[in-house]
Symmetry: C2
Subunit: 403 residues, 2 copies
């Protein structure tokens, strides 16, 4: 028997054991951006809302999510920009003008979203929180406070109860928030010993300027003589200068997001490790008291030339035995997660289906080839929504639901 | 001590232990396409060479590699196309005209490259091999014969000795060939228990038509009104129709290459598993006699919008303890491999540096966060060169070196 035949026999045997997959059950929704999660504040008293950094990519998305979810805003949201006096067009509230930020100006507010720098958060977040209304909350999108013991790090569907009574809540790293949507239900059902993540991250992770740089690089390449393609593998001979990314991103892959750390990992990669651990209930870095039962998490973070949805290939080793069917059962119905796993119909998570949607898509669920108890799967989520603005608004809703 | 401070302390301790990295030593070569490996046939009698499928992407690259390496071709190579009578422009041999293929026409040849289908290889490869000159060899780029016991599967730097006396040699899958360049020296030095691969594969894996479809999709997107970007995350509203890929590839990520198998993996993913195992000296699929010492290999194969270099994020568990320094020492000097691992200077493997080069780049070498003995690293190689044409020509050189 040749090796080829043995392979074919093995595949045929596998086919006989294939699980039954009703195609409609796992079909991902193709709907346009619609609320995937119940609005918990409908009918409550309107809230005083402010957004710091309202003109950036995340700030803009927060405005959009507030509108689309019908968040009960008193009047219109107050927008703070890096400078005051800039006009922001909104759907629900017409043209709004940004104001220059001061802590004083946020006094008595119910919800303040920070879409600003880590330095800004360190300097002002707790002070803003102290001046808010009785049940007011600051939701910070920076990474500066995420590992502080007194600041909960929250994906509402995972650990939303931590919002109760918090004056400042940290919004997680985009890659981590997207990964957690699938990891958490699997953690609950099977336990997690090892998590290995390889990311496919969009330009939007570097904000509006990153998206613009990719678009400019792509447009420049197309405009140049494409005959060079056969010789150098790129459209055009000379890429545009890069400033947002470490190298030109068009037609490239850059395994470098955020700064390199002493251990050779980037800060983006370590954020995934630290934040997954914290949100699963462990200390961000392994403590001296690690019993060996704590999940080990590793990430390779890679920028690719897409615009605003992050994809992730994830391999896990579970504590308990797991099958593909049991994993599907554990993932099905988890709020904010859509199962896109019908390979017979070429259905799996992709940026072109998850962009603009609130749900994170999970698919390509397979039994691990390397772990006795383990899975491989693939996820994709809108970086600016689940990875930032949607999660921030859901945090605000959750925090206010305890008021 | 807050969690943040503990993280910072841990990083500072890590910094003190950081290895010394002379930047020049690990700087990847920036040279344009040049021979990376010694030409072993220089000065030998010219050989009768034929290429079947000469007008495809791989066939074209084979012609280029033969020229650039100064392969001793008697007269000019004979080109067989799907139809005869097509003109192919070459540098060294001017305009050549394709002929219609027949086994008869290859009789007495010394080297025949097959850049055709698996069905073609099954039908003709052994018959062509039987009619060649005494030390003649057929190098087949398809996957059809790779798992047959009587056909060696060869990356010359890894297991080139298997070419000796072979009438038909199989060229491996592109992703596998690129991965093996880094995996093999690590296997020799530390042993491999587990290999987990996530790929970032270029359009060229789907041939010239795949590259054209990506170019057309990108150009179409740029030409459309880019104001839609803010709403749907793509340039332009309507992607072009796709035929080479399962979905539009421009600004997208498609976790689907080749056909889905009964176990949920794609054939591309299983090729990586089977071919890594075979080239490391094990049966392609685990045998009943697996002692538990055989390496387990798993892959998630993903198409991204780049043109012709494949990247791969690889996590390994080794049998023996391994450090980053020891890994670098094991990788340094391996022929066909360039260490691109100087993060202080933003140097790591990327398509824009590896495209057109013979060497596979390896970098981002890190101690594993999940395995006690293990590493993470990132590689990038030209899919049409190491992944196909270069490897095929090197196989022919190796096979003829035994003549």
């Amino acid at each position: 028997m040749t090796s080829l035949r043995r392979v074919l026999v093995a595949l045929a045997l596998g086919a006989a054991q294939a699980f039954v997959r009703p195609a409609h059950r796992f079909a991902v929704s193709r709907r346009a951006a619609m609320p995937a999660l119940r609005m918990s504040l409908a009918g409550t008293t309107p809230l005083k809302v402010a957004i710091v950094g309202a003109t950036g990519a995340v700030g803009q998305e927060i405005i959009g999510v507030l509108e689309k979810r019908g968040f009960p805003v008193a009047g219109s949201p107050t927008l703070f920009g890096s400078k005051g006096g800039k006009t922001v067009q909104t759907g629900q509230w017409g043209a709004l003008t940004t104001e220059a930020f001061s802590v004083e100006a946020t006094k008595g507010y119910d919800v303040v979203f920070l879409a600003a720098s880590g330095d800004f958060a360190i300097k002002y977040a707790r002070e803003i929180g102290a001046g808010l209304s009785e049940n007011g909350v600051v939701v910070d999108n920076s990474s500066a406070l995420r590992y502080d013991d007194d600041v909960p790090l929250v994906v509402p569907e995972v650990n939303g109860q931590l919002c109760k009574g918090a004056k400042v809540v940290a919004n997680p790293n985009c890659t981590t928030a997207i990964a957690l949507m699938a990891l958490y239900p699997l953690f609950l059902a099977f336990g997690l010993k090892k998590v290995i993540v390889s990311t496919y991250q969009a330009a939007s992770g570097a904000g509006a300027a990153g998206m613009a740089e990719l678009k400019e690089g792509i447009a420049n390449a197309v405009q140049k003589d494409s005959r060079n393609l056969e010789e150098d593998g790129r459209f055009g001979a000379t890429p545009i200068a890069n400033s947002e990314f470490a190298h030109p991103l068009a037609f490239n892959v850059i395994p470098h997001i955020d700064k390199f750390q002493a251990n050779g990992y980037t800060k983006e990669e370590m954020k995934v490790t630290w934040e997954c651990r914290k949100m699963l209930g462990f200390s961000p870095i392994p403590s001296d008291q690690d019993t060996g039962l704590e999940p080990k998490v590793s990430c390779t973070a890679v920028r690719i030339p897409t615009l605003r949805a992050h994809s992730e290939a994830i391999t896990i080793e579970t504590e308990k035995p797991v099958t593909v069917e049991a994993a599907r059962a554990a993932l099905t119905g988890f709020p904010g997660l859509a199962i896109a796993d019908d390979t017979a119909n070429n259905l799996y998570p992709m940026p072109i289906t998850s962009t603009g949607n609130y749900d994170v898509e999970v698919g390509r669920i397979r039994q691990s080839e390397v772990f006795e108890n383990g899975l491989d799967f693939f996820i994709c989520g809108d970086q600016l929504l689940r990875g930032a603005a949607l999660n921030a608004v859901l945090v605000a809703e959750k925090a206010r639901s305890f008021a």
